[in-house]
């Protein structure tokens, strides 16, 4: 099988690149080692569409973030049917002596093109963010920041890319890369060998290994762990903005994060770890997150926590690495995509396309590019009128499977028909099992629907791919 471009990794970076390249007359293949897209870093992050503040004005990630933010706000969210909420962000200070630092952040943000920022005082905060604790004295308001569901963003990008002709292979781990005489690469994945003229490396935490495999061992990735704690949806309205403390030298600090699905989140920590598979949460992490969040909002309580996870930022120095590697002609790296990679992804994708073009890949637009993707239906986001219309159209939207998050049997079926093959895939697409009971009520029902849709015995169904089977044996 021969391709113009093979993209390694179906996280947000790879998915955005695939969609961007699917505008052109190219044969594009995405190879992903996990059972589904978005199972890497892109599933475990804060879901913030950053405005672009708190990045050095000269940095690549700074301007890619501002441009990615603009693209999501002005084009992508609507085109791809995504639930983007422009709730804005506050950067809070605990001491009025720190006000000059807010002015610096504001000036640096303006240099990058961030618009409409202003410092707000305690009276404004009392009116607009009533749950803030007394320690908070003032804040910088950044109105262009917002929130999005990170995995549904990836699914939408990849679905749309596939609709426009790109191919996706999951459970296809790239195990070997060889240069071809006369240019291009042989790529071995999932027991098959593919040929390609160009390679885009969007392998997240493994991007250093992939680059080395292709002949360019030019950087290393150090994971930086972030633990996040989700609160019950009942606390949805504790905050109206994403709230940051004034950043310290080492981290953006512990945030109070609105999420587009309603559950507020607190976190993330930021600690380097040597292990790319270390996704464990810790008692120290929980204590750090709770203390940080409570300083801004004292009413946040441990009892509100319904879920937690850890994600690893793929760090390769201070900035993103997005470049063609002359040591391996044809290889374009999109590596070190730490925060704000989720936001920057659409802009990174355009940059990748540009680099490929400069390296000789012709980009001829297709006659017809399907820019739009139909929104998937979610009862929990529907008004009563919309819910009624959905149920009238298809009775199974009235058949509730997940009672904590209000997910119907039809939504679970839709998820499987859109590519979910695992329980986590269903959860990320629909929210079923993501609520306060953690699947206590709905897991068996979801497994039965998956059995029907996929035609597989229950013992073959997994949480997130081979090895994570849920049911070990069936009673005869």
């Amino acid at each position: 099988m021969s391709y113009d471009v093979i993209i390694i990794g179906a996280g947000v970076t790879g998915a955005a690149a695939a969609r961007e390249l699917s505008r052109y007359r190219l044969k594009v293949l995405v190879l992903e080692k996990e059972a589904e897209p978005a199972f890497g870093v892109s599933k475990s992050n804060s879901g913030i569409v950053h405005a672009g503040t708190q990045n050095p004005p000269s940095s690549l990630k700074g301007w890619l973030c501002v441009e990615g933010n603009r693209m999501i706000r002005e084009e992508l969210a609507a085109d791809l049917g995504l639930h983007f909420v422009q709730c804005g962000q506050l950067i809070a200070v605990f001491d009025l002596a720190d006000l000059p630092e807010l002015e610096t952040i504001k000036a640096e943000g303006e240099a990058l093109g961030v618009k409409d920022m202003r410092v707000v005082d305690r009276a404004w905060l009392d009116a607009n963010e009533p749950n803030l604790g007394p320690e908070v004295k003032a804040a910088l308001l950044v109105p262009t920041a917002g929130i999005i569901s990170p995995y549904r963003f990836v699914y939408a990008l990849i679905e749309n890319a596939v609709k426009n002709g790109a191919e996706l292979k999951t459970s296809a781990k790239v195990a070997g890369i060889r240069r071809r005489e006369g240019g291009g690469f042989y790529v071995e994945a999932g027991g098959r060998v593919y040929t390609t003229k160009f390679l885009v490396n969007a392998a997240g935490l493994r991007a250093d290994e992939i680059s080395a495999m292709a002949g360019a061992p030019t950087f290393t990735i150090t994971p930086r762990k972030g633990e996040e704690y989700l609160l019950d949806k009942k606390r949805e309205h504790i905050a109206n903005h994403i709230i940051f403390p004034l950043p310290s030298k080492t981290s953006k600090g512990i945030l109070i994060i609105k999420t587009s699905d309603g559950n507020p989140m607190i976190g993330p920590t930021a600690h380097d770890t040597g292990d790319k598979d270390d996704l464990a949460t810790t008692e120290e992490g929980l204590a750090e997150v709770l203390a940080g969040a409570r300083r801004m909002m004292p009413s946040v309580s441990k009892g509100d926590i319904i879920a937690y996870f850890a994600g690893l930022r793929p760090v390769a120095g201070k900035d993103f690495i997005i470049r063609h590697e002359s040591a391996a002609p044809g290889l374009v790296n999109a590596a070190g995509i730490q925060s704000p990679g989720l936001t920057a992804a659409p802009a990174i994708a355009v940059m990748i396309a540009d680099i490929l073009k400069k390296q000789g890949l012709p980009l001829e637009p297709k006659d017809q590019f399907h820019r739009l993707r139909q929104r998937t239906e979610h009862l929990f986001m529907s008004s009563p009128e919309e819910a009624r219309r959905l149920i009238a159209k298809n009775p199974a939207y009235g058949d509730i499977v997940c009672r904590c998050e209000l997910v119907s049997a039809q939504e679970v079926r839709d998820a499987v028909r859109h590519g979910a093959t695992t329980l986590d895939g269903v959860k990320f697409r629909t929210r079923a099992q993501a609520g306060r009971c953690h699947g206590g009520f709905c897991t068996t029902r979801i497994l039965k629907i998956m059995q029907e849709e996929l035609g597989r015995p229950v013992t073959e169904l997994t949480k997130r791919g081979p090895g994570s089977e849920i049911v070990k044996d069936e009673r005869k």
Binding site: S301, I306, G398, C404, T444, V458, T462, V471, E474, R475
Partner: protein, 325 residues
């Protein structure tokens, strides 16, 4: 909006007892809404004996106990049972909405009884740190998988918590050939019934470790092992006592939480710690005409007591409705 005299949310033992008692007290029109495909609630998965000793003076299994009430409910023309009907909204003036396959219905109720039962506390609520592999189940979910679907979740299990559900599931898993390595309990004693400690653990040689706690779950895709440590009387870890247990399954049985999200939505007062309605008397809520009974009101050990108190709730609702006139 349709008007109904009494709407009961939840068709477990609480909802059924309340419906029958309200009818006996003279309420003419009862609508019983149940999310599941059958009546009985949590009892349907409790296939062990131990129900009915007080109410029927004989020992029944959970489904047998439930079926006796379900038969009476179905036989009563004054009770309309609507299954697969999930109440999504309740307002303070007792207007409610429910979804069922094919429809969303809005109703104005004269009185409402919430009999929505409990959900289980989860691993996330204790919380147990470590990785998040497959193989960690709330014990009640494991019970449903084994008893209702015939699905055996694992082969080597550790159980966290020695309440009745943890104890009963230890035995259930052992009977299915699963090696139950230990029951881990942070307290000095079991919250469960003594007969369950004896019949479920001792008879099966399952070790019960008091004053121990799980400090981490390990495993990338599926559980591989757990870390355990001994704690002192102040629940502080005792240095040098940590050890590991290899297993592929962890059942978490650390208590139940009343489901009162509907009451909260309607503006009723709910205790933030226990999630129970704030009210002076059993079965009452802070909203006039809205009652809560069974496990939604408080966590009961015995279904028989649920039945007794829920019958009272049915009569209280009848009185509120001015019946008999």
């Amino acid at each position: 909006m349709k008007r109904r005299e009494l709407v009961i949310v939840g068709g477990g033992p609480a909802g059924m007892a309340a419906a029958l008692a309200a009818r006996a007290a003279g309420v003419e029109d009862v609508l019983l809404l149940e999310r599941d495909q059958h009546l009985g609630g949590i009892l349907n998965q409790c296939i062990h004996p131990g129900f009915g000793l007080h109410h029927f003076k004989e020992e029944l299994t959970g489904p047998e106990y439930a079926d006796r009430f379900a038969a009476l409910v179905h036989a009563d023309p004054g009770i309309e049972v609507s299954l697969r009907s999930f109440v999504v909204k309740l307002g303070k003036d007792r207007e409610l909405s429910y979804l069922r396959p094919g429809a969303m219905e809005d109703i104005q109720a004269g009185a409402v009884i919430l009999a929505t039962g409990c959900r289980e506390r989860t691993r996330e609520m204790i919380p147990i740190p470590g990785s998040r592999p497959a193989g960690v189940f709330p014990a009640g979910l494991a019970q449903k998988m084994v008893n209702m679907e015939g699905w055996i979740p694992g082969r080597e299990a550790v159980i966290v918590g020695s309440g009745d559900i943890g104890l009963i599931m230890a035995r259930r898993m052992a009977l299915e050939g699963v090696a139950v390595k230990a029951v881990i309990e942070i307290q000095k004693t079991s919250r469960g019934l003594v007969r369950n400690v004896v019949q479920c653990l001792e008879d099966f040689g399952i070790p019960l470790r008091f004053q121990h706690r799980l400090t981490a779950i390990h495993g990338a895709d599926r559980v591989e092992k757990v870390s355990v440590v001994r704690v002192d009387d102040d629940f502080k870890d005792i240095p040098g006592t940590a050890f590991e247990i290899a297993c592929d399954t962890v059942l978490v049985s650390v208590g139940l939480i009343p489901e009162n999200e509907l009451l909260e939505m309607a503006g009723g007062a709910v205790d933030r710690r226990t999630n129970t309605p704030v009210a002076d008397e059993v079965n009452l809520t802070s909203l006039p005409g809205v009652f809560a009974c069974g496990n939604a009101c408080k966590v009961y050990d015995l279904a028989d007591s649920v039945t007794r108190d829920s019958e009272l709730a049915g009569r209280m609702a009848a009185k509120y409705l001015g019946v008999p006139a």
